[in-house]
Amino acid sequence: MTDFNLTPLLPELFLAFSALGLLLVGVAGGNRTTDIICWAGVVSLVLTAFLLFGISWERQTVLNNMFVIDQFAGFMKLIVLIGLIVSMSLSVKYLYQEQMARIEYPILIMMAGVGMMLMISAHNMLTLYMALELQSLSLYVLAAFRRNSYKSAEAGTKYFILGALSSGMILFGISLIYGFTGSVDFTVIQSVLKDVEMAPIGLTFGLVFLLAGLGFKISAVPFHMWTPDVYQGAPTSVTAFFAIVPKIAAFALLIRVLFEPFGLMIAEWSQIMVVLCVGSMAVGAFAALAQNNIKRLLAYSSIGNMGYALIGVIAGNAVGVSAVIVYLFIYMFMTAGVFGILLCMRRGNIAVEKVSDFAGLSYTNPALAYSMAILMFSMSGIPPLAGFFGKLLIFQSAIEAHYYALAVFGVVTSVVASYYYLRIIKVMFFDDPLDAIDKDIPFARRAVICISIIFVLGFIIKPNLLIASAKSATTSLLLPPKTPVVMIKSLEEDGN
């Protein structure tokens, strides 16, 4: 135990301790103090972000190679923190409106946040597993947070059972990987792979199990079954949280695992990823067509969007990874805006969540309707909105890696998907109005919706800010030396 430098862990430590401190305050003060604890939580998240800026983002590993900090980790943690702040501020009022204001809510979100930040920095299979579990367990409880509601309890149970199954798969995968490489350390695994000519079949099996488990976390098809039910059953503020943050952390983890320890097995894992990606895009596009519940619809939409993000991973090059980062960042802002609007959809202080409940919103609440329309057009990838540029970068990376078929499939499913985004616009603008929705919209929701709209509309003016930071974040990842597609190609040409 020589390597005990904790400086790179400062943000995580701070967040964990403030969560525990706030828990004590909450226990003393009771559920009356929920809003105070929520806002205190937001403040500590902001402080965590400042701490994150304070530490060096130069690549270094600490705690015996268990924990890594580099530009990629720093940038992804920043995105996660923004997501946490947004979802926490969106929740506060909702907790009171739905009479479920209990102090555990902000604490659980913060603990999940700690888990996610550790996931992003995991540099060892054990860190990976511990962080993943810390995050997942918080999420299971959050899904069942409205414990007197049938649906919420069902969502929590379902999520927990399937989540436990996926954790089991991850553990099994890790044990296989350990068996065949003799280590759980990312660096060691990477160097073992460097020396062997072909990866042993057992290691490939281990990788498949690990990816199946991670596929569950990012809700990629065929591991997506939980998503629609959990999204629909969980309280809307929790759904917003699920949609905005955990997937970003899971993606960061996925990217690190695939590119650092298993960077040389890209030929093996890209095949698995293609299946996940194509499946996600197809299910995301087609299954959403028949949905009438907007939360369920957004669940399928998120499955589809994860499919697009996976294209960038499959591309297997720096362009692809930076495209994924940009895509996720844009997706996070759009989703935050959409859920901000969804949380405002209340009639007579009762939340409504059917697509048909949006009917004629453009007559009764034009500002909200136009915001939603902009976000929906952006989600379906129509320029000049931000969503288009995310897709543009993703498809560019696919073409750069010669995945033409994947790119064509992606654009075709995005056209199919645009149908259900358009349906929401159609309902809001072309249908006859229902009763007006409740007028009072809390400040936090207004702010989130405004920021989201400004981001979506303004991205076109200064796209470089984000793209440049994403690019520099990618450079710190230890990418595999050459993309295999090119290698295979050149081999074939040599053969001829």
């Binding site: 000049p384 498809f395 064509v408 654009v411 603008f429 470089n464 793209i467 001829n496």
Partner: protein, 516 residues
């Protein structure tokens, strides 16, 4: 030329107007509507004046791009904000700035709900149309080209007829599916050449193997937009359900984006594939001309009839463009501009009677020459323009296109010429049934003649149709140099490719393959 950014100003002027309309107007609902109307009209007239000023500054002798503006945009990726016009695009810009105020005037009294949004939509649409024709960067072009879908979807869906939702969807999804394939093609071009600069791409065509797939991808987009047979089916639906001004802008400008795309992308960037696919385009054009003319013959709905006639006229455009000789290409462009004026005016004519009787069924009218003599006159001039009578702009375009076609392929030209006869048949039938004959319907017989707004919208178009029919050189003199450059570029690229192919014949096989 580092001076005032004319094109950027012209492009974003309407957008500023739209923002003012959305955020700058408050008060009672009637005042808001009224102010929105005036604001939109003034903005679009201002843009028109600006467009004319641009045209005066435009030097018709130069084949190259003028008023070029170029600054970094996506610096990381080398995508630029790059604008410029040449002899081909400047007239499309003029068409867009001319038709927008006319559209706004045409909707002055007929649009009564959500006027503010309506006017904002049209101004945003104007920005996007101008931008499409000015963009010289592929991604920038795509952004403008595709963004058009948003306001158009809303215009059809909110202010359209009874089946507006179906039509709006059909329009949106059809066009989107075509365009995303073009997006992939643009990305392939970018990855292969590392450039999104349209001028560079036009001067350096990519490797032959790649051209065919790319050409088909571009074709998917432009053929839908054009629209060519058999992907034209969205157009009649969209036209029938769209409000009058929506039809005007759709037929007047949006369809031209397809033809413009062929001129800017398919022909110069992919010359070898263009040569290969030309026969296919010819036959599709002929099918479009003859088949849709026959379909137009049996239409009972005035708008649908004119929509099908648009498809037929666009057949002449594709025919002309792909003859790839001076007359043919000029004819294609001329036909696009002339169709932009004539079909826009014809839709306005339909709008005039529709506003009075709220039906577009041909049999509900008849003999209206007696109570609407001025209308009958205007309608007649436009109808004859559409038929291609000498002395109207329609004649010049079709004549040049057919002349080019005869030089390229006589059989094709013969078939296309029969299309002209059919065109005369359905237009004359439409005119006879609506304007002449007995006055069977009392309400149709009581309709009032053109009012001041209608005159304001129709008269400029009629004057232009005749002017361009009598003095075609007004615009051909500016188009010619650019077209000449296009054709020279195209032919040079082909000869170069043939030389390379001949050189490769002798060389060992292994040197083939995709060049980086």
């Amino acid at each position: 030329m580092v001076d005032f950014p004319l094109l950027t100003t012209l492009t974003f002027l309407p957008l500023i107007g739209a923002l003012l309309i959305i955020f700058g107007i408050s008060g009672k609902p009637e005042d808001v509507s009224n102010n929105a109307r005036h604001m939109a009209l003034f903005t679009s007239l201002f843009a028109l004046a600006f467009g004319l000023f641009l045209y005066m500054r435009f030097d018709p002798e130069i084949a190259d791009f003028q008023f070029v503006e170029q600054t970094g945009w996506f610096r990381q990726l080398g995508i630029e904000y790059h604008m410029g016009v040449d002899g081909i695009s400047v007239f499309f810009v003029l068409l867009a700035v001319l038709l927008t105020p006319i559209c706004i005037l045409a909707s002055w009294n007929s649009i009564k709900t959500r006027v503010r949004e309506y006017m904002a939509c049209f101004l945003i649409l104007e920005t996007l149309m101008i931008g499409t024709f000015c963009a010289l960067d592929t991604v920038l072009f795509y952004v403008f080209f595709e963004a058009v879908l948003i306001p158009m979807f809303i215009i059809i869906g909110v202010w359209g007829g009874p089946r507006r939702v179906y039509s709006a969807y059909k329009f949106f999804l059809y066009t989107l599916l075509g365009s995303v394939l073009m997006l992939l093609a643009l990305l392939v071009l970018y990855v292969q050449t590392g450039s999104t600069n349209m001028i560079t791409l036009m001067e350096n065509p990519v490797a032959r193997d790649l051209q065919f797939m790319l050409w088909l991808a571009f074709f998917a987009s432009f053929a839908v937009k054009m629209p060519m047979w058999p992907v034209h089916t969205w157009l009649p639906d969209a036209h029938v359900e769209a409000p009058t001004a929506g039809s005007v802008i759709l037929a007047g400008v949006l369809l031209k984006m397809g033809g413009y795309g062929f001129l800017r992308f398919s022909i110069p960037m992919l010359p070898e594939a263009t040569e290969f696919f030309t026969p296919m385009v010819f036959w599709l054009s002929i099918i479009a001309i003859i088949y849709t003319s026959l379909v137009a013959l049996v239409q009972e709905d005035m708008k649908k009839l004119i929509a099908y006639s648009s498809v037929a006229h666009m057949g002449f455009v594709t025919l002309g463009l792909f003859t790839l000789n001076q007359q043919g290409v000029e004819g294609g462009i001329y036909q696009m501009l002339s169709h932009g004026l004539i079909s826009a005016a014809l839709f306005l004519c339909v709008g005039v009677v529709y506003d009075r009787l709220h039906t577009r069924e041909i049999s509900r009218y008849g003999g209206i020459v007696k109570n609407m003599p001025r209308y009958a006159t205007v309608f007649m001039i436009l109808m004859l323009g559409s038929v291609g009578l000498p002395g109207t702009s329609g004649f010049v375009g079709e004549f040049l296109a057919l002349l080019g076609a005869y030089r390229a392929d006589t059989v094709v030209a013969v078939f296309a010429t029969t299309g002209m006869v059919l065109g005369a048949t359905y237009m004359l039938m439409l005119y006879r049934r609506v304007v002449f004959g007995p006055q069977n319907n009392d309400d149709a017989a009581k309709m009032k003649d053109l009012d001041i707004y209608e005159k304001l919208t129709l008269v400029p178009l009629v004057v232009l149709v005749i002017w361009l029919g009598v003095f075609p050189t007004t615009i051909t003199k500016a188009i010619s140099p650019s077209v000449e450059r296009l054709i020279v570029q195209y032919e040079n690229a082909l000869t170069l490719a043939k030389e390379n192919a001949a050189a490769l014949e002798g060389a060992p096989k292994q040197e083939e393959g995709i060049t980086p």
